[in-house]
Every structure is written in structure tokens, then in C-alpha cells.
């Protein structure tokens, strides 16, 4: 390419014009690079040198720090009281066996069963009540994407025309399904009630709070009922139909208008799909009433189940969990154990390194210094 001498030429003209510009008052710019810390690569950097003086104390300190943290976490986790009961009804002896056996999708009369259980300890402070499912693939790709966020956010258009992702639960007959998709369709619909059998013979129904179980962002941002001003959900949802498996339409999930329709918290909780096939979801909160009495005193209870949700076909299990929480969430001994073991390993490693340092490090240093 002829640019070989073109460039030369260009170079000459450039320098010439540059000089002219300089004479004409413009500044003749030097090509000298700027002297900034960044351009000269002088930004402060830290390159740790692994000497015995830094590494060994670090290991010991980490060890000594982690073990107490771990113990603390473990104790906290152990102090959390948790009770779990499986009410699937697989065994013959189980109270829900018949309900499980006789399940039919279009049974008009709901099957109920009562599961008795005993709490060995009183549960102080707020108690969280969960339902748990096993072998339920809420994380299957086709399942996860089978929803229409736009519809759930109250978009009227999506309400009438659910996204294709909802297939095959987008339309039933000719009517659009609201809420559409496999997730909504498979919503957990057992109802659970807790009854305390007072030693004096009376049965006390434990009051369960159904609100405050979903994320604030879900309830207030992500999920919204369509027709913002119109509080009459029946009108709003006119022209849509309920999901195939549901027994009632979405606008009849709750009597409280702030907990009805798409912003029903049970529904919201269900819609946040679980990551693993065995999972638990928050069902209700048992608020602490007084400082004197425990929220759930020690004693016998009955779990009243309206058995609507079939899991036997895929060998699923259903559980009810009662748990208190601490500052670090629910019961989770793993973190504490992990901290303890990492701490101990660190400490041990520190010892090993110390020995190694004594055996080898000094020799090397001596060799260096002697020369």
C-alpha cells in the first residue's frame, strides 16, 4: 500500500501545521504521556507476601474467630423449636389415609381429616406455620416459565390474552384463565387449622394470621389486581375463568379485599417457585399474644386438614411444619457446623504450618542470610 510514503508525507504536514498552529497562538501539544498514577501504573496495590509472620497468626485468628461464631450459630439454631408432621396419608394407620385414597378432582364434598400431635416444649414468640411438599418439581423449566408476570401485575390485556408461556393452561374453553399457567393451576389448596387440646378438655382454635407471609415487593409491586380503581373483583375478572384445578375463582380466594385476587398472599407465596423438589412454604403466622403465656403451650394439638391436594400419584409428601425463628432465620444447623469445622481446620492448619515453618523455613532463611 502506498501509505508507506503517504504517512511520511502526512507526518510532515502534521508537524508543519502543528508548528504553524503553535505560532498562531494555539498550544503545541507534546505527545508526552500524562503523568498520572493510573497511566503510569502507580496506583497503590497490595501484594501480600506470605511470611510466617503474617500467615500463621492469620490462621490462628481465623480459627479462634470461627469456632465461637460457629458455636453461636449452632446454639441459636438449636434454640429454634421446630415441629414437623407428615399428613400425606400413605400408611393405613394415618388419619388422612382415606382422604388420600378417595381423592377425586371433582368431588364436591371436601374430605377432612384430623391429625393429632404433641408439642413437648412451649413455643415462645411468633410461630411460623409452613406446609412442605416433597418430590414436587416446582423447579422444572417448563413449570417455572409457565406463568404470565404481566397478567399477574394487573395488565388488562394480558388478563384477556394470557401469554403463550402459560400453555396449556392459558385458556379453558374459549375463556382466558386467570391466573394462567401451570404454577397457578397447581396451587396448594389444602386448608390447615390448628386446635389446641387444653388439658381441661376444651378445644381452642389457634388464631392464624394469613397476611404478612409474602414479600413486601411481591405484594405491592409484582402482583396487582387488574382494574386498579374498581374494587369489585368479580366485575374485573369477568370474562375469565378459573384455573382448571381450582375450586373457586381467583376473586374468591379471600373475603378481605386486600388479600383477594392476585394479591392473595397464599397465592403469591405459591407463585414464588421453590428451588428444590423438596420445599416448604410459609402458610400462616401465629402471632404472639401476651408476654406471660407462650404462643403455643406444651400439650396436645390437632391439625385439621381439608384434604384437597393430591400428591400420591407422583409419590409426593405433604407436611405441616411449626417453627419459631431467630435473628438468622429458621432452623439451620449447617452454617454453625460449617463455621465450627472451618475454624477447627484453620486452627489445625495453623499448627501444621507452624511445624512446617519450624522444620523448613528456618533452614532456608539461614541459607540465605549466610550469603
Amino acid at each position: 500500500m502506498a501509505s508507506s510514503y503517504k504517512d511520511e508525507d502526512g507526518h510532515i504536514t502534521v508537524s508543519g501545521s502543528g508548528a504553524a498552529a503553535g505560532a498562531g497562538g494555539g498550544s503545541l501539544r507534546s505527545k508526552k504521556p500524562e503523568n498520572t498514577a493510573f497511566k503510569q501504573q502507580r496506583l497503590p496495590a497490595w501484594q501480600p507476601i506470605l511470611t510466617a509472620g503474617t500467615v500463621l497468626p492469620a490462621f490462628f485468628i481465623i480459627g479462634l474467630m470461627f469456632i465461637p461464631i460457629g458455636i453461636g450459630l449452632y446454639v441459636t439454631s438449636n434454640n429454634i423449636k421446630e415441629f414437623e408432621i407428615d399428613y400425606t396419608g400413605v400408611e393405613m394407620s394415618s388419619p388422612c389415609f382415606t382422604c388420600a385414597q378417595n381423592f377425586s378432582w371433582n368431588g364436591t364434598k371436601p374430605c377432612t381429616c384430623s391429625v393429632p400431635f404433641h408439642l413437648d416444649q412451649p413455643y415462645e414468640s411468633n410461630v411460623f406455620m409452613y406446609y412442605g411438599l416433597s418430590n414436587f418439581y416446582q423447579n422444572h423449566r417448563r413449570y417455572v416459565k409457565s406463568r404470565d408476570d404481566s397478567q399477574l401485575n394487573g395488565n388488562e390485556e394480558s388478563l384477556r390474552k394470557p401469554s403463550k408461556e402459560c400453555e396449556p393452561y392459558a385458556k379453558h374453553g374459549n375463556k382466558p384463565i386467570a391466573p394462567c399457567g401451570a404454577i397457578a393451576n397447581s396451587m396448594f389448596n389444602d386448608s390447615l387449622e390448628l386446635i389446641y387440646n387444653d388439658p381441661n378438655g376444651t378445644k381452642v382454635q389457634i388464631p392464624l394470621t394469613a397476611t404478612g407471609i409474602a414479600w413486601w415487593t411481591d405484594k405491592h409491586v409484582k402482583f396487582r389486581n387488574p382494574g386498579a380503581e374498581n374494587t369489585n373483583l368479580t366485575v374485573v375478572f369477568q370474562g375469565t375463568t378459573q384455573p382448571v384445578n381450582w375450586r373457586r375463582p381467583v376473586f374468591q380466594l379471600d373475603s378481605d379485599p386486600d388479600n383477594n385476587g392476585f394479591i392473595n398472599e397464599d397465592f403469591i407465596v405459591w407463585m414464588r417457585t421453590a428451588a428444590l423438589p423438596t420445599f416448604r412454604k410459609l402458610y400462616r403466622i401465629i402471632q404472639r399474644r401476651s408476654n406471660v403465656h407462650p404462643t403455643l403451650p406444651r400439650g396436645n394439638y390437632t391439625l385439621e386438614v381439608v384434604y384437597n391436594y393430591p400428591v400420591r400419584s407422583f409419590e409426593g409428601r405433604k407436611r405441616m411444619i411449626l417453627s419459631t425463628i431467630s435473628w438468622m432465620g429458621g432452623k439451620n444447623p449447617f452454617l454453625g457446623i460449617a463455621y465450627i469445622s472451618v475454624g477447627s481446620v484453620c486452627f489445625l492448619l495453623g499448627v501444621v504450618l507452624l511445624i512446617i515453618h519450624h522444620k523448613y523455613g528456618n533452614r532456608n532463611n539461614a541459607a540465605e542470610i549466610s550469603h
Binding site: M1, A2, S3, S4, Y5, K6, D7, E8, D9, G10, K31, K32, P33, E34, K39, Q40, I49, L50, A52, V55, A58, I62, F136, Y137, N139, H140, R141, R142, V144, D149, N153, P168, A182, S186, W215, T217, D218, V221, K222, A275, P277, P310, S313, F314, E315, M328, G329, N332, L335, A338, C346, L349, L353, I356, H357, Y360, N364, A367, E368, H371
Partner: protein, 1117 residues
Amino acid sequence: MHSKLLSTEIKISICFPAAAVKHLNPIVALMFFSEEERYVRANDRPSNLSYNYANNAIRTSKYNIFTFLPLNLFEQFRRLANAYFLFLLVLQLIPQVSSLSWFTTALPLILVLSMTAVKDANDDINRHKSDRQVNNRMVNILIDGVLKNEKWMNVQVGDIIKLESNQFVTADLLLLSSSEPLNLVYVETAELDGETNLKVKQALTPTGEMGDSIEALSAFKGEVRCEPPNNRLDKFKGTLTMNGQNYGLDNDKILLRGCTLRNTEWCFGLVIFGGPDTKLMQNSGKTKFKRTSIDHLMNVLVLCIFGFLFTLCFILAIGNAIWEVKEGSVFTVFLPREPGVNAGLSSFLSFWSYVIVLNAVVPISLYVSVEVIRLGNSFFINWDRKMYYPKNDTPAQARTTTLNEELGQIKYIFSDKTGTLTQNIMTFNKCSINGKNYGELYDFSGQRVEITEKTQKVDFSWNKLADPKFDFHDYSLLETVREGNPEAQAFFRLLALCHTVMPEEKKDGELNYQAQSPDEGSLVTAARNFGFVFRSRTPETITIMEMGEKVTYELLAVLDFNNIRKRMSVIVRSPDGKMTLYCKGADTIIYERLDHSCKKLMKVTTGHLNEYAGDGLRTLVLAYKHLKENYMEEWTQRHHEASTALDGREERLDELYEEIEKDMILLGATAVEDKLQDGVPQTIEQLAKADIKIWVLTGDKQETAENIGYSCNMLREEMKEVFIVAANTPEGEPSVAKARAGLFWLQKTETVQDEQVEGDYALIINGHSLAFALEKDLELELLRTACMCQTVICCRVTPLQKAQVVELVKKYKQAITLAIGDGANDVSMIKAAHIGVGISGQEGMQAVLSSDFSFAQFRYLQRLLLVHGRWSYLRMCKFLQYFFYKNFTFTFVHFWYAFFCGFSAQLCIDTYSWTTVNQFFVWGSLAAYFAITFTMYSSGMFLIFTSIFPFVGTVRNSLNQPNVWLTIFLASLLCVLPVVALRFILIQIRPTINDKVKKHLRPNIVYAFCGYEYSLMSHNTTNLGKDVFLQKVVLLLILLQVRYKTQMEAPPAPAPRRPVRRVSTRRSGYAFSHSQGYGALVTSERFLFKRPMKGRLAFSVQTDTPQPKLFRPIPVE
């Protein structure tokens, strides 16, 4: 391949950015193959047009507006990575397969494509611009009897154009006539071959007679038949038919495009080749696309990862089939199957889905990120103030941004000499006059004083004609001359008379010397400053100002220099009628021809010569002789006879010269310094310590090269042996027999010593021997031997051989090579080496344009390799490690998660952060990551794009939990601790040099340390465990550090210029770097007796008389 190249084609490399030849327009290309002979009729456009010869417009650009998009996209998708991601994109558009939304692939792909496209477009716009600039240059064309100012691109083959001084030659021209006597023109060919000295071209006499007469020129009906366009710069064959007579044309009458007209008022030329057909354009070498070894490693890794990816996907597909049969079939209550999908199909689909999900292991962002990092490192090179040369205002420049990390892997450096190691500036440094040594300074106690920049210079202001740039430090010499010391005056008179320099005096007193070689120029300049100013010359006279007095000498004869004679003489008659022969030449040659009376002086002078040679200076001995009138008359007569003789002329002249150049009186000796660039010896020393081998490949003479070798500390007196392989027959023809004899030791060494050699050896080999040694059967032996030597110097090598040597090392050593040079003759090796470095110096821009990195001084190489190279390499390695680690983590998370989500290709990390992480993680670190995450997870985003950003609240709710933070803390510590422990154990048990150094000498020592670490990086360190060796190295390092500290604190302390004073008997021979005097033209009879001989010129040019050397000779074999 080498021998084939050698035998079939010579390539003088002129380099141009790629693509020039490739993109010649098809018609031209067609013609190039079909054209067998070119036929041009002067002043006959219609006839010439009928041949469809290319006009003078050039096109080096690749695209125009319409072809840009399709062509560029096509080229980009030819790259494997891009094609792969296009394939992924297509896969993602299939809903059953798509596990990620399509823009996770489209976004980076579009980013990559557009970035490349912008870069390509920018390059091409620049090419368009430069094309336009060149095509629109103006030149005078003779059309219909009138001179018209036309654009270059409108010049047609067969046009007659007029060029003026300092203009670029428009196309390849047949020189018709010129303003200078004898129809000479002077051209500078720096753009073609990198040589800055002027060359002479001469027109045929019949055409020259037309002069600048427009009538004659427009009536000129010459017809030229010549070879088709080709790329040989030194050959041209053709005939000019004019008035029924045939005249042979050779290269001597052709002006090539790319030259510049100098010192010639005007000239006329006939366009023979235009535009793409010119030799310059035909020479545009193809630029090979350079890739680094990391690139190769990356490609291999990526291929392995492909295999790995498909294995993973296969496993998961099987898993999917099993799950579908066992679990999926019963879970249909809540998750019905899509119609027509059974377990088999589902597994097939999930295979492809997982290809998409796991594509993070074959990351497109890897390529992007690597490029970005390299670009960043290139910027750091451009920004480095320590590689900025204030004198020329040139910062270092990384012209290729993709090779940085390779800089940290260099094992061999091939360096040019002139202009790279040396400044190509000769300075008159010392002299010995009548047994007295001048040029050194002594203090009061008689100790030699080191001359530095600060030393006071001799004041030459009394001499109005003095060259202000000339430096000399010894006052006593000037005093001696001004006192009127006859020997000193004779000494400088000789220097002012005995040479072939052409003076140029533009304004009164503003003298400019046009010397053929810089050392000759420096001698004449020295004489000028000491009061013997050479002012002008005619063929018969030389006028000098002797101490302010104008004296004109009659020039009776010039006994020219050549390689065998190694001396030149002039015979002059002074105004008072005395005839004197002045001679300068190589010491050995002159000493044989001295009068016996000089014995004593010879001894003293020899001592001085040894001293000079020991300092690495080029020496010349000066002598004179008074001639008797009658003898001279008779000699002139014989000389005239001899020079007009038809046969045996050379021999007869030689005899005559030999006869008269004897019994001369010794005057003294000069020492000229071939100035090294600053810091060259130190740089070479440092690079050698980093275990980088430096080979010098130079076109210079062996003596010069050797000299420089010594002054650069590459050759040392304490070396066990310096092998010199120099098969040089008198004619300069390579004699196979001699070369074989010269190479005999090669075989001997090879068998006696096996790879490991005790002590230092050096090898000097010249071009002729090299040509022989590079043949198939010997090249390996050459390489083996050369690699055993500490220093290798190849002298008198052609550009092609330079490239061949580089290729040889590249091929058999599998080492990374770097070539550094400044001239057009280095271009071939710069292109051949893995990395080419151009010195942006005096010899044009050729080398820089084809180089990958360019800077102004050789010494910056140290910083480029040991600092930038090392850092780039380390950064790149760390980055790649991290990148693969990151991707594998990502992938394995999904691989494990597959076992929990029914192998359904569900992601456990949402897709959007996926793209973000891949794209921006490395760009903007954690901060950017979190910023983007928070934006994307914000309610605002969700409300705008409900279905695209469904993760509102995720971050907020998860990061609220102390659990998360505790886990992050634990996890990061868990990741760090094992590494720390392992490294610590390694440091304790088996410390490397680095560790020891780091521990002992913590702070800011950069180079010394880098050098060692560098050598460790490129070498296997397994055998470094020996304690003794380590201790030595550590000791050395400590010493070095002390040195560096002092150097850093007291900046540019004058480096000890020549630390070791050699005691050497080896002296330079005749110090001129050229092989022949300034052509036969200036000094020969033709020039001297120009008018009466004019008629014979046309004839004599076609005989075998020595021709002016127009280009560096390249052997065609």
C-alpha cells in the same frame, strides 16, 4: 521453503499494511497474469488506453458504503467463535430448546460484532482517506503540448510528466531528461529500501538532449517495450525505440514510485507503470495475522471445552430421559407434557437446551474480554513515560494491540544494527597527529577524565563556517592547528580534500554535505570545524577554505575506494604548483605502503590505533606523498591510457594506483565513533540476564558489526572463542567450497560438544556463508551451533536472509521471537518474527508501519519486555485462570442443579444476571455488578418491562438475611484459605527465587527482579533447586538492587560508557560501510572529464563498468 524462496523470488520487503495486493481490482489482477510484455507509446493516450493498463489511481481500501455490511459480516462470521455463537442464537430461537432467552447470546454477539465492525470501518475510512490524499496529489502532465497540473490518479501510462525537487515520484517512470548535467537526477529511496543516502539515476543521452523543451518533449514518439509489472526493485529490462533506433533500458533509467527527487531542479519522465502496477505497490507484502501463544492455548482449551461441554450435555440428556420415564410421567398432574413429546424427544431437546445453558464454558465474552484487556495493556504501553523519547516527541506505540502478553515470553531477539543499536551518527572522536594523541581529557594529576554531556566543548565560533552540531572536547588540538603546526594542518587538509562528499551551499555559509556514508561525512565535518572547510567541487577542482583563506586545488586524479584496496587517494595540485597525493585507508594497508622514515611514528601511531580499537572506534590511517612534476605527467598519461583501455582496464588501473601509492609519509590516524544509542550495552546486559538471546542481523560489513558487538558488550575479550565464518571471495560471489571450509567447524563443534558448552562462545557469520548454511542439510546444524553461542552476529545479510534466520529459529526452536529494526530492510524480519518492533528513527517509516510496537530508542526494549511484557502476561494468565474458574463454577452449579430440577435445563441463577455477569463482571468488577443487579432488580425496571425483569425484590429480600452474608463470608474464606496454605507451604518447603527476593528486597525494584522472574516464566524452573546457584542469584539480585536504587535516586547517572577497556590487537579495517566509492560517477573519469567524453556515455553505460549501486545487492541464485 527457504531455498525455494531464495531461488525463485527475491522479495525486498517494502511493507505496506495488508490487503493492498489482495484487493487489487480484478481487471488489474487479470492483466497481471496475462500481460507478457508492456508496450507503451509516449504521448499517445488512445493507443495506450487500448491496452487497458492500470492508471495511476490506487485503491487500498477494502469496502465501500454498500459492500461494508455484508462483506464485513461475512468476514466476521468466518471466525469460529462468532459462528458458534450465531449457531447458539439460532438454537435459542427454538422455543422447545431455548432455556435462556435469546438476548443472552444476542447481546454479547452484537456487542462483539459491532465493536469489530466499528474498528474495521475506522481502518477502512483511514485507508480511503490516505488513498484519496495520494490520488489527489498534483503533478504536471504534458498533454497536447501543454503542461497541465493534474491529479495523480489522472496520470495514464505513456504520459510525460514533469517532477520538481523534493516531489514524490508519481509512478514508475522512464527518466527522459533532467536539469542536472549528464542528465543525472538524485533520488532518495528511503521509502523503498530504508537507505537515506542519495542515489543517482541517469537518462539516456538521446532523450536527455530534449531538455525541458516542451516542443521536443511533446513531439517525442518513443516506444517502450518492457517487462510486465513485477516486484523486483533492482531489475528492469526493456528497450526504447526512438527514431528507428533501439536503446536498452535498465534500472538505472527508471524512477520508482515512492522515491523522492532531491537536489534536482526538474526532470521529465515517461510513465511506464501506474498505480497498482508500480513496483512499490507490487511489493506490498502480505501481512500475516499474528497470533500469540495464548491465543493458541485458548483455542486448544476451547476445543477441549467443547468436548467437555458435549459430554456434560450427553450425561444430562440421559438423565433427562430417565427422569422423564420415572418421575415426569407421573408428575403430569401438575405439569402436563407438551403434545407429541415423549421421553426420547424430551431428552434430545434437553441436550440442546443444556448446550445453551452450559455455553458459559465456551464463553464469547472470553474473546471480548481478552481483547479488552489487551487493549488496556496496549494503552499502558502508549502511556508509559519511561518509553517516551522527548527529543523526537515520540511516545511508545503499541500498533498491534493483540500481542502484549507475548512480550513476556520472548526468548530470541533479532536486532538490526544501524539505527537500532547505533544512532547511525558518526562522530569524529579522537585522532593521532604525528604521534600525538588528541581527543582525550586529563585532569591535573594526569588521570583520564570521562567525557560526559557536561564536559565543556571546544568553541568553534571563530570559524564562521563551522558546523554547530560538531562536538569536540580537547582544546589542545584546536590550539595546535591554529598555531600553524604543519602536520596538523596537513592532517586536516587531507581530510578536506580526500573524499567523495558533495557539498551543498544553499545560502552563503550554510554548508551541507551530502556524504555517501556517515563516517566520511564526519571526517569532512571535522576538517571543516578545525578550519579546513571543504566548500565546493567541480570535476577538476576542489575549493577549500584553509583557516579562512580560499584555496582552490586542482584535482588531478581520484584513486577510488573499493573493498579490496581498502583505501582511497586523491592527487591534487595546490595553487603554488606542488602536487601531492593524499591517501586514507585501513591501517594494515597503508602501513605496507609507508616510507621507511616513518618507522618510529608508525610505532607510536600503532599504539594509539590499538587504544582506539579497544574503545570500539573505527580507525583510518592518513598519509601523503609529494609528487614530482615529470613523474606525475608521465603517470597521468599512463592513467589516461589505462582508463580508456577496452580490456583489462580495472587491472591496469589497479597497477597504476599501486605504483603511485607507495613510500608515503604517515600523518596520523582518525578515530570515528559509530555512536551507540543510549543505554544499549546496559539493555543488552539486562536482557541477557533475563535469558533472552540477542542476535544481531545487519547488512553492514563484518568489521563494523564486530566492532559494534564489542562496544555493546555482546562480544567480550574473555570469551573463549569468537568463531568467524566469512566466506568472501574477491568478487563477492559466494564460493561454495570456501563456505563449506568455513563451516567445517560447525560440524566439529556439533559432534564434539553436545548442546552443553563450557564457557562463552560467539559466532559471527556473513551473508554468503549464511546463504549456504541456510540450505536444508545445514540449517539445523547452524541453528544448533548458534544456540550454543552466547552471541550471534550475522553481517552482510540481505533482508530476505534476515527473515530466513528468524523463520529458522521460529521453526525449530518453537521459541517466541522478536525482531527489532528501523529500516525498510528490516521489514521482512519484523514481519517474520512473532513480534516486530520498529524504531521510529531516521530511516523513514517503513519499519514502524509494519511493526507491532514502535518506540524511539533501543533501550526501551528492556521496559517493554521486562515490565510490560511480564505484567501483560501475568495479568492475562490471572484473568484466564479466573475466567475459566468462573465459568466452570457457573456451569457446574447448573450441572448439579440438573439433578434436582428433573434435568429440565432450568437455571438456578436467573438469566439476566447471567448475561450481566458474563459481560460486565470482568469489566467493572463487583461494584458494577451490584449496581447493575440492583437496577435490574428494582421495582422501576419491573414496572416498565414486566415480563423481562421479573426478579423484583429478590435482592432486597435475600440480602436482608444475615444467613446470606454469613455464607458469603464463609465461602470466600473457604476459597482463599487453601490457596494461602498451599502457597505458604510451598514457600516454606521449596521457595522459588521470586519468593526469596520478595522476602528480602521488598520494595520497588523492578527491572532486576523482573528480569529474573521473566526468565523463570519462560523457563522450566525444575533444575533451579540447586542451592549454590540460588545463592549466587540472590546475591546478584541484591547487588543489582543496590545498583538500581542508586540509579533510581540519582536519575540518568551516566552509565559507564565502556566499562572494560579491551586490550586488543583487532582493529577495524577501512571504516567505510560502503563497498564502493560514490559511484563511478563522482570520482571516475567520466565525471572528471565530462565534456569531451559525453558522446561515449550511452555506450559506456551499457558496458560492464562499475555501476553506481542503486540498491543494496541481493544475490539471486
